[in-house]
């Protein structure tokens, strides 16, 4: 019964699919037909609530009984506003698809903060769908952001985004089910795990990580970020037989967490911190020897957001070193905030040595970014991915 309850509560995929399926198709078609509407109203600096915050599952700290989040509670207490925090983002592409009809038509998306991975953040910034972040309202964030995260081509001066966390894409597995430790991307293709393997939707993670495997095998000469369409085709052709034979059971977003919980997934392509923070005791994450994909998820304020002031307050709040340390310690991802390592080391030496939060130099050397494709290429690659996904 508990199983059922938690599954139902944690079934965002189904909820999303269903809601989209019933309502959004109509809305999207209608909006697209209307074409671009009026431009959204300007927003003020005043900190008013509720702050509508869309984030990924397993991406915020929770109390012992998992009923609330200390970070959000403290934020509410400090500013006296409500936070409507929803774990609505399971995959970049799917969430983009819910935003595109609204933001494309110049309408308010209903969110004040959204969190998207680099390539998708760059795409929505290019599309002009993002509000500028007022530097005067975010002094802590500007002061505390790690230097290597600054100066990105799509937003060199931190006007449009601030990183939420960075993380890696690697191999996750349940030690009890697999019966051995997995160390390679290649381990995902072990015949013993047939039907119990899942990969990630879209091309950004799956094609990059399998690209690294093919590079190690010598079939591809380029790193993921430099892969050509022909290389992507090779990755597709490598994975396809495993899909057809039923070896790869599914392509998932964050819902792999539920499949690990129910035992239906033994080994999968996963994001680094999730299994440590929200998985079972036998669930492990490995930085595969072929290499790991590194990415950053970024906070963005969508155009026309009704509570921009509150969103900026939240961005500044999570860049406070103490708040950032508390967050990173719970979710096991790489914090974008300077001094978090020292802050955590003060109380927990074991955690301060955890590779998930603070990758060692050796691990970091083996981390590679995802491809950042322009629209035309993106559509071609997405078609390859959707062919694998069967729909």
């Amino acid at each position: 019964m508990n199983d059922l309850d938690s599954l139902i509560r944690k079934a965002p995929v189904t909820r999303r699919v269903f809601i989209q399926g019933t309502t959004l198709a109509g809305v999207a078609g209608f909006l697209a037909a209307c074409g671009a509407g009026s431009s959204p109203k300007p927003t003020s600096d005043a900190i008013t609530g509720p702050l509508n915050f869309a984030n990924w599952p397993a991406y915020i700290d929770l109390t012992e009984d998992e009923s609330s989040s200390p970070t959000l509670t403290d934020f509410k207490a400090k500013y006296g506003i409500e936070v409507n925090y929803k774990e609505d983002i399971e995959a970049n592409e799917d969430f983009y698809a819910t935003l595109a009809p609204l933001l494309g038509a110049g309408l308010d998306s209903g969110w004040d903060i959204i969190v998207l991975t680099d390539y998708m953040a760059a795409r929505v910034v290019r599309a002009g769908w993002i509000e500028e972040i007022n530097a005067a309202n975010t002094p802590t964030a500007h002061a505390n952001i790690r230097d290597e995260l600054k100066g990105l081509a799509w937003d060199p001066d931190m006007k449009m985004h601030f990183p939420w966390q960075s993380g890696a894409t690697g191999v996750g597995y349940n030690l009890k089910s697999t019966g051995r430790d997995l160390t390679k991307v290649d381990d995902l293709f072990d015949p013993a795990f047939k039907g119990k393997v899942t990969m990630l939707t879209g091309y950004a993670d799956t094609f990059s990580l399998v690209g690294l495997l093919l590079k190690a095998k010598g079939d591809i000469s380029k790193l993921p970020a430099d892969m050509s369409y022909e290389d992507a085709q090779k990755v597709h052709d490598f994975i396809k037989p495993y899909v057809d034979s039923g070896h790869v059971r599914k392509f998932t977003g964050n819902e792999y967490l539920q499949d690990f919980g129910s035992g239906d997934t033994w080994a999968a392509m996963v994001w680094s911190g999730d299994l440590a923070s929200s998985g079972g005791e036998d669930d492990r994450f490995a930085f595969p020897v072929e290499g790991t994909i590194i990415w950053t998820d970024n906070m963005l304020i969508p155009k026309g957001a009704k509570h921009k002031g509150a969103a900026e307050a939240m961005i500044d709040f999570v860049y406070d070193v103490k708040n950032a340390a508390r967050l990173a310690a719970w979710i096991y991802y790489i914090s974008p905030v300077k001094g978090v390592a020292d802050e955590i080391a003060k109380t927990d030496a074991v955690l301060a040595a955890n590779e998930l939060l603070f990758p060692s130099a050796a691990t970091a050397k083996n981390m590679f970014p995802q491809p950042a494709l322009e629209d035309a290429d993106d559509i071609k690659w997405a078609d390859l991915a959707s062919n694998l996904e069967g729909a």
């Binding site: 059922l4 189904t14 399926g21 119990k196 039923g246 599914k250 069967g390």
Partner: protein, 350 residues
């Protein structure tokens, strides 16, 4: 005088108006919109070129071409689910109608009871039942040791067809019950008085052939022959056919009477027609079961339409596929009605 006459003539139209308006707003207009999209070019991100600038019939031909596998999955899974629903539903409806007695309403209530739970929650509970740690695998893998450790049911066609069968069973049972319950008992008594006994030899032959055909359809449709989930092989096929023929023969020969074949079943045909259409249409267009219980190879056309609309934002292809699906369903129903004959549809002359 003339005034009242005119207003009286207007009454039927007034009564129809809400329904017609509803259809116009939520069926005709969206469909015209879809038709325009299905002939357009582009995606949400690149912008659309709509008729009359372009008439892109490529969406239709290319759509069929690219997604023929998904169409095939839809037809096969929807068809198998309908057949299984019929095989489970007819005896159930028959028993409730003829043997239900004072428990009739309770039994009917139990048939529709699952509808009090959300469709999604029912599908998710199937995920648990069929899952790795679920009771079914617990029995056949851990208890009886029939299958290897990494055997899964989730992610196979069997799971999808099973889910569809479960979801749409009430759509089958209720119309069947209504038409079976309407059968005049005196006709059956008359048939028995006229020496309509057990079906014996005819039943054994018909049942045997039907059973064999069903097993062939199941094995080819699901790609299974053995309990261990191996792909279809000739030996497996033959064993399956023999089992199906044996079971069908026994059922046909011993359980079915001539009065049923000659009286009850023909009189319930309108119900069979309505029930199978009510089951087949939602089953063929369903995408939730394939999404939650299936794998990439079991995705149905509904999944493609959903993905094209909502993930790729490729409205033209999605609209074209939706039209193809709609046309296909209409066509097959027309054909089906033709085969079953129109007078059975209206209830026959009995």
């Amino acid at each position: 005088m003339r005034k009242t006459l005119r207003s009286r003539r207007a009454i039927p139209y007034l009564l129809m108006a809400p329904g017609l308006l509803w259809l116009l707003l939520f069926f005709v207009i969206p469909n015209l919109q879809m038709l325009l999209f299905s002939l357009s070019e582009g995606t949400l991100r690149t912008g659309f070129t709509t008729p009359p600038e372009v008439f892109d019939w490529e969406n239709f031909t290319g759509g069929i071409d690219q997604f023929s596998g998904n169409f095939r999955n839809s037809i096969v899974y929807g068809g198998l689910a309908t057949i299984l629903c019929f095989l489970i539903g007819y005896p159930l409806a028959y028993s409730i109608a003829f043997k239900g007695g004072r428990w009739k309403s309770l039994l009917l209530f139990m048939v529709i009871a699952p509808f009090f739970t959300s469709f999604l929650i029912r599908t998710i509970s199937w995920k648990i039942i069929l899952g790795n740690d679920g009771p079914l695998l617990g029995l056949i893998r851990d208890g009886l040791g029939l299958v290897p450790a990494n055997f899964s049911i989730l992610g196979t066609p069997l799971a999808v067809v099973g889910g569809l069968t479960y979801q749409f069973l009430p759509f089958m049972v209720l119309p069947l019950y209504i038409s079976i319950d309407k059968v005049d008992r005196r006709l059956i008594e008359a048939a028995q008085d006229l020496y309509a006994g057990p079906w014996r030899r005819g039943g054994a032959i018909v049942g045997g052939v039907a059973g064999a055909l069903l097993l062939i359809a199941l094995q080819l449709g699901l790609g299974y022959t053995s309990a261990t989930g191996e792909a279809a092989t000739l030996t497996g096929l033959v064993v399956g056919i023999l089992i199906g023929a044996g079971v069908g023969g026994v059922v046909g020969g011993f359980l079915v009477s001539q009065s049923f074949i000659r009286v009850t079943f023909p009189l319930s045909l309108p119900g069979v027609f309505a029930a199978s259409i009510l089951t087949f249409i939602p089953a063929i267009g369903d995408y939730v079961n394939a999404q939650l219980l299936g794998s990439p190879t079991t995705q149905m056309i509904g999944n493609v339409i959903q993905g094209r609309f909502l993930t790729q934002n490729d409205y033209p292809i999605a609209a074209a596929l939706a039209f193809i699906l709609m046309a296909g369903i209409l066509l097959s129903i027309a054909l089906y009605a033709r085969l079953l004959g129109t007078e059975e549809l209206t209830g026959g002359t009995a």
